[in-house]
Symmetry: C2
Subunit: 448 residues, 2 copies
C-alpha cells in the first residue's frame, strides 16, 4: 500500500481545500479521507483525477505546424495527412504513437480513445497478421504508460457510394462483415456487459468499435458495426456532422441526417460517442440526448479545420454527456480543450457562462473515461482506479488564482502538470526526452 | 560589442534556416549576417524579434481564474474587476504590474502598451502627485525589463451622457481638457514627429494617449485627446465596437457608429490603434483601413468576454495593420493570440487559410512595436533595437514541426521561450520566482 497527501484536490464530487489522504493498493484507491500528511507522499498543488482524451488519431501528430504553408487551406491539411498515412509502417506507427502518447501523459492524460483506421499495407493488402497496425498502438500505449481504448474503425469508402481512393485503400476492409471478422480475430477475452480486454488481459487496455462516418460506411453497413459493439458491451464511436457538406451529401444520398442514419442503425446509446456533433438539427439533438449518447467535442481541432461551433450546452441539457478529445493533435492539452468548449460557445452566442468549471472537469475525467469503457476511472474515490494528476498552482500561468477547479479549467495548461499516476503507477515523463522521441518519430517519416 | 549566433531565425523579412550571426552594441543590432557561430553566444532553437503586447490592463491579471464562479456571467467578471480596482493603491498597482510584466517577459514579450485609466485615489480624489499611478507602471516596467508605452487614458463617464459611477470616479479627470493638463504634467521631453520619453529620458519607455471608448468619452471631448496625441506624434489607442450593445447605444445617442465618432474627431491614422474592432460596418472597415489605423485584436479576451469574432482579414485588406494584445490577461501568451486570430476567423467563416504565419508574426513583432511608438523595434536588422526571443524547438509542443514561422504561430506557447533579450540586455526571467511574485501581488489585494 502506498499513501499520498493531496494539498488541494478536485475529486469528481467537489473541491477539497484542506488536504486529502488517499491510500492506493493494486492500482486502486482503497481509502480517501481528510487529514494531515503524516508519512504520506506529499503532492503539492492541485490534484485532479486522470484526464481522458476521448478522440485521438495518433499519427496526425506528425502534421503539427506542417499544414500552414502559404495560407494553409483544408486541402493543404488533407494532402499532408494522406502523405503521412502513406508512409506509415507498423514500426513507424508504433514509434509515432508511443511518442504522441507520452506527450499526452506529460499533460496529465491517463486514458486515450484511439480512433484507428489505418489497418492494411500499401494498396490495401492485409498484413500477414491483419491486426498488426492496431496491435502496434496497444504496444505503444503500454510502453507510454497510458490507458488505451482501441476503437477499431470501419472505413469502407471515400464518400456516399464512392469506393476508397489512394491511401484510403489501407483503411478499408471491403465490407462491414469483413471488418467485424478482422476485428473479432484480435485475441480478446470478451466479457459481456462490461468493457473488454485484448489478448494478455492487460487491464489498462480495451477494444471498442467505430463507424468512421456516414460518408465512409454505407447506410446498410452501419448496423453491422453497431451490433458488433452492442453484443460485446464495447464502446462505439463515430464522427458525426463535422461539416455542413457532410450533412448536405447525406440528405442528398438518403434524405435524412447523419444522426438519423446512426439512430436507425441502433448505433446510439450510453456506450456511444458522437464525435464533433457540430451541425445538428433540433431533432438530431433530441435523438442524441434522449439516447444518452456522449458528445465528444474536439474544439482545438474544430478551430483548426474551421468546422464551426457545435451546440455543446444544448446537447448536455438534452441528455448527452460531454467528453473532449485532442483529435488531430494540433495541440495536446485537455485544459485548453475544456475551456475552449466554453469560450467558443461564448463566441457563438456572445454570452458568457454556459459551462461551470466543474462540469468541464467531469467531461475531461469521469465522463470521458466512462465513454471509453472505463467507468471505474476518472474519480478520486474508494474502489476507483488510482489516477492522480497534480498541477503546479504557483506557475506563471496559475499563480494568483484560486487553486481550484476554475484554475484547472481557465488558467492551467498541460505545461503545469508535474506528476501523473495511472492505475497507481507513477508514469510522470521527462519532457525533454519526450521531445527528442517525438522529433525522431516524425523525422523517420521523411526517410524512404 | 556582443555577438550571438541564431541557429534558426525569423527576422521580420523572412526565415533563416542555416545560422545567423548578429552583433549588438549600445542596445542595437550593428551587423546581421549568415555564417558559422565562431565565438558568438549560441542561441539554439528558433529566434524571433521581440514580441509586442499592444493592449494590456495590468491589474486584470488578478482576475485570472476568479471570474468563473458558478457559470461566470459578464457581471461576475465586471464585479470582480471593479472590486480589484477599488483595492489598488500606488504600491499595490506597482507590485501587481511588475509581476504581470515579468510574466510577459517570461513569454517573450519585450514591449507592452498599457491602457491605463486608474488615475486617482478613492472617490476620485487626485493623489498629491496626480500621475503617481501611471508612474508606478513606468517604474514596474523598468524593474521588469520590459519596454512600455504608457497609454494615458481619458475616461470621463459610465456611458453615453452618464457620469462615472462608483470606482469609475477613480478613472475620471472630469473633462478632456483636465485629462490633457494632467497628462501634460508628466515630466516628459516631447520630440515632435517621433515617440516621446517620460522624465529621465528612459529610452525604453514612451507616453501615448487613449480614448477609453466612445461610451466613456463624450463626442465633443474626443477631438481634444486626438489633438493632444497628434501634436506630440504620440500613439493614440481606443477601444472600438467591442460589443453590439456599444454600437447600438452610440447610434441611439449620436446617429453614427463609434468609428464615425473617431473619424470626425480626427482620431484615426497610422499612429492610432482601434482595439477589438469586432462589430463593424463596411463603412467602418473602409474608414479604418483607408486611414491606416491599426486594428489591435485580443482574441483570448474576446473569447473570454464573448465579444464575437472581428473582421481581421477584411481590415488588413482594407489597409489596417493587425496587432495583438493579451488585454485582460486571462492568458498571457502572444503565440496563442496570433493563432487565435486565424483560428477564430476559421470558426466564423468555416474556411481555413486567412492569415499566413509570417503575417501573424509581423503583427506580434514589427507592426505591434510600431503601433506603440517604437518603429525601430520588432525586426532583426542592422540599426534596430536588439530584441531576441528564442524558442525551444524540441519541447513536447514544438518537436517534430518544421522549426519555422509556422512552428512559432501554430505550435509554440509562451512556455517554450527560453531566452529573452531586450535592447541588448538579457532579461530572461526565472519562472518560479515570477510565479511567487504574482502570488504575493494578488494576495496583497485581499488584505485591508
Amino acid at each position: 500500500m502506498r499513501s499520498y497527501w493531496l494539498e488541494r484536490a478536485w475529486t469528481g464530487r467537489g473541491p477539497v481545500r484542506d488536504g486529502l489522504l488517499v491510500d492506493v493498493e493494486d492500482g486502486r484507491f482503497t481509502a480517501v479521507r481528510s487529514g494531515p500528511p503524516g508519512q504520506a507522499t506529499r503532492l503539492l498543488g492541485l490534484t485532479l483525477p486522470g484526464l481522458a482524451n476521448c478522440h485521438s488519431h495518433a499519427f496526425h501528430r506528425a502534421l503539427r505546424g506542417r499544414t500552414q504553408l502559404g495560407r494553409g487551406t483544408f486541402w493543404t491539411w488533407r494532402t499532408r495527412m494522406y502523405d503521412v498515412a502513406e508512409r506509415l509502417t507498423p514500426d513507424r506507427y508504433f514509434a509515432l504513437a508511443r511518442a504522441t502518447y507520452r506527450e499526452m501523459v506529460a499533460t496529465g492524460i491517463t486514458g486515450v480513445g484511439e480512433f484507428h483506421y489505418l489497418h492494411h499495407g500499401p494498396g490495401g493488402t492485409p498484413y500477414d497478421d491483419p491486426n498488426v497496425m492496431g496491435d502496434a498502438l496497444l504496444a505503444a500505449a503500454r510502453e507510454a504508460g497510458i490507458r488505451l481504448t482501441l476503437l477499431d474503425t470501419c472505413y469502407l469508402g471515400s464518400g456516399f457510394g464512392a469506393p476508397p481512393e489512394g491511401v484510403q485503400e489501407r483503411f478499408s476492409d471491403g465490407t462491414a462483415e469483413r471488418w467485424a471478422e478482422r476485428a473479432s480475430r484480435r485475441g480478446v477475452t470478451w466479457s459481456a456487459g462490461s468493457a473488454v480486454s485484448p489478448g494478455g488481459g492487460d487491464p489498462s487496455a480495451r477494444v471498442g468499435a467505430a463507424v468512421h462516418s456516414v460518408r465512409a460506411v454505407p447506410r446498410d453497413q452501419v448496423p453491422v458495426v453497431a451490433a458488433w459493439a452492442r453484443d460485446r458491451g464495447a464502446p462505439l464511436h463515430a464522427h458525426l456532422s463535422e461539416q455542413v457538406a457532410e450533412n448536405e451529401a447525406c440528405r442528398a444520398a438518403y434524405g435524412i441526417t447523419p444522426t438519423d442514419v446512426l439512430a436507425e442503425a441502433g448505433a446510439l446509446g450510453p456506450l456511444t460517442s458522437a464525435v464533433h456533433a457540430t451541425h445538428l438539427t433540433d431533432r438530431d439533438v433530441a435523438l442524441l440526448g434522449g439516447s444518452g449518447t456522449s458528445a465528444c467535442f474536439c474544439p482545438t481541432t474544430e478551430r483548426d479545420l474551421g468546422d464551426g461551433v457545435g451546440p455543446s450546452r444544448r446537447l448536455r441539457d438534452a441528455g448527452s454527456p460531454l467528453t473532449v478529445g485532442s483529435d488531430s493533435h494540433a495541440v495536446i492539452d485537455l485544459f485548453e480543450e475544456m475551456r475552449a468548449v466554453e469560450l467558443d460557445e461564448r463566441l457563438a452566442t456572445q454570452e458568457r457562462g454556459h459551462w461551470p468549471a466543474a462540469e468541464l472537469l467531469d467531461a475531461a475525467t469521469g465522463d470521458g473515461h466512462r465513454s471509453l469503457g472505463f467507468p471505474d476511472a476518472g474519480r478520486i474515490e474508494p474502489g476507483a482506479r488510482a489516477d492522480l494528476v497534480t498541477l503546479d498552482t504557483a506557475s506563471v500561468r496559475t499563480a494568483g488564482t484560486g487553486a481550484d477547479e476554475a484554475t484547472a479549467v481557465f488558467a492551467a495548461s498541460g505545461a503545469d502538470v508535474v506528476r501523473v499516476l495511472r492505475d497507481g503507477v507513477d508514469v510522470t515523463v521527462d519532457r525533454a526526452e519526450v521531445g527528442a522521441e517525438l522529433d525522431r518519430a516524425v523525422r523517420a517519416l521523411e526517410e524512404d
